[in-house]
Amino acid sequence: MNVLTLLLLGPLVSAVLIFLIIFLFSKVHQSVYTFLALLGPGVSAFLALFVSYYSYFEKEVFSSHLFTWLHIGDFVVEAALKADALSAFMILFVAPVSFLIHIYATGYMDGQRSYGRFFAYFNIFVFFMLLLVLADNPIIMFIGWEGVGLTSYALIGFYYEEIKNTYAGNKAFILNRIGDFGFLSALMLLFLEIGSGGFDFEHIFYNLVQIDSGMLSLIAFLLFVGAMGKSAQIPLFVWLPDAMAGPTPVSALIHAATMVTAGVYMVARFAPLYNLTPDISIFIAYVGALSALFAAVVATREYDIKKILAYSTMSQLGFMFMALGVGAYSTALFHMFAHAFFKALLFMAAGAIIAAFHHKQDIRELRGIQAPVLFVMMYIATLTITAIPPFSAFFSKDAIMSALYASGHVEIFFLAFVASLLTAFYMFRMVFVLFFTREKKSAQKSGASMIYPMAVLTLLSIFAGLLNFPEIFAGELNISHWLGLAEQSHKVPHATEIILMGVNTLFIAGVIFYTYKKYAYTDAIEKENETSVIANKFYVDAFYHQTVVRTLQAFSLFFDKTISKSLIDDSINAMAFAYYKIGKIFAHAENGNVRFYALYILVGVVSGFIYLYFLLGDVV
């Protein structure tokens, strides 16, 4: 069996088996589920490493043709998989991180009622994610794309007894689908323009030049709308904070490491297209910058530990899009790579804290937690995300900053700079509030199945940067060479780069110091104003609710009650009623009285007479 096929189907088979067991047997020992749940992703992770290894060292391209999905006229969609460098790079972290989070989840979900169901969904999610990454043509990619949205819906609403959670799931899927609307439209247009020449990625990129620039911009824009939805960028971001309603492993896997990065992957995948549309690319950069800044600002007044992390995810995704926008694709992907590890780690640590504290999530209630291992891991992850050398994100974020600087869009660079300072502020705010307190609370110990994956991720967060060591540190930018994307290289002199790094790091250190003064061992957090504009997230949710939701409801009522009921149905009924009334009038005339009948005859005869007279009057 083909490697890729096996890699893809592993999680699916696991999921199907779990579903069957749930369906057929009422009581099964939890270990059966655990075994099945880990089997599929385990195989996938192993094969992913294998594939990446060969891709990286041997430049091997794996591919697998499953079957012809659709063949009508020119519209040929092959269900085919292909692991070129980009895909291999993606699965390099998607599959192993998924596997690690699965292990973590076996500890986190231990003993919960819907243990099996959870892992069934989880495995289906991994399947769709792999399909999205490995697909060789955009339609199959779209299937994976929608599939991850769907499973994330199921997982966000996993604790369905609380209906708010399912609404959060609905919100996520609806906003994702707005993005999908753009994505699908873009694909259709793309097909109509060049689809007859083959609709896999290779042929598409080969034929791109045939499209005129206006249409190309439209397609690029619509594709990016899809990415906005999936990667929670302005204006389609509101689902991501709410999506934290799901179990923490879900947040770690879906809303940090994999699904939300799909948008970045997609833009990178369509790099040849975006290279032809500089306007849209810059637009992407702006959206990314605004999203990064917005999320960072909102996170400074957030108290829910998971929501802080959610906003930080959005912010980091903004950084990636900035890089994509200026054409530094591999830099963005590198940041995504690093992000997958440290963000998963952050979520897992947060989840461990939450689990240890009876599922409280407010950092003010979680203050003073005593968990040295968690503290160390979280501290390292926080240092990573704030881009302190020598952790991995330092290299990736620095690469982004210098790319932005080099691209000449100073305003974007400035926004990114502010956002990165704010990142330091809110992340350390969280850490200081959680751990740096006078009174201490003891917590339950986290299980081994939770700690070990986190340990692995901690190591990866620290050392992942080595993979794309920049040139100034005598690195070789291995990822860039491996991926070989058509980049617009913005090179800055080494001196400038070093100055940038230094200034950046200094400012960040300053911010950390300020944060320490403000939050560590103080109760500043208790005094913060919860009614400010920032704490209310700039009223974006309320605005959407008022404009979109209310409008739709009003329209719905208007259509249903006014137009359908009053206007159309009532007029149809009125027609029937009018017949009834007219019938009544005639029935009244037919009163059984012969002399009335005579009257009608008379009227008829007289009218006939008059008519005939005037008709024939001249003749007679």
Partner: protein
């Protein structure tokens, strides 16, 4: 000239009495004025030399049928409360007359415009019993016999109807 004057008088009497007949409230008044109408129609027959019909009209109509009506009216002992309450009688009469006016007008107009008056010579024995009798028993024997059957049937029917009511 003399004929014209007589005709005009009779015509006016006929019309007036007919109008009284249809507009009188009580049936007895109607019946009495109807007798006047019938007799003047009979007189008009006479004016046209249809002497036999003149006689028949007076005997059968004015004599037999009208007396039958009067007899019934008295027999039934009709009181005012038995009469229909014709509140809108006059309006009805007016409305129907209005409806009929064009009908009349058109017919009269057509007659005036037509050339039907042949003014042919009237035979000497026109309208006499002999004349009518000859025609009746030569050309019209079969209808005549049928009428007799009809009369018989009507007789039996009348008897049966009255009987069933009891």
């Amino acid at each position: 000239m003399q004929n014209e004057i007589v005709f005009a008088t009779l015509a006016i009497i006929t019309i007036v009495s007919a109008i009284i007949m249809i507009s009188a409230h009580r049936p007895i008044d109607s019946a009495l004025s109807f007798i006047v109408t019938l007799i003047s129609v009979a007189a008009l027959f006479g004016l046209m030399n249809a002497t036999f019909l003149f006689v028949v009209q007076i005997i059968i109509y004015a004599g037999a049928i009208l007396s039958l009506i009067l007899f019934i009216i008295m027999f039934l002992n009709i009181k005012d409360e038995n009469l229909p309450d014709e509140k809108y009688k006059n309006r009805w009469l007016l409305a129907t007359s209005l409806i009929l006016t064009p009908f009349c007008a058109i017919l009269i107009n057509l007659i005036l415009r037509s050339d039907i008056a042949l003014e042919g010579a009237t035979a000497k024995n026109f309208g006499t019993i002999q004349d009518v009798g000859l025609t009746l028993f030569s050309k019209w024997v079969l209808p005549f016999e049928l009428v007799s059957i009809l009369l018989l049937v009507a007789l039996i029917g009348a008897v049966m109807l009255s009987k069933r009511g009891e």
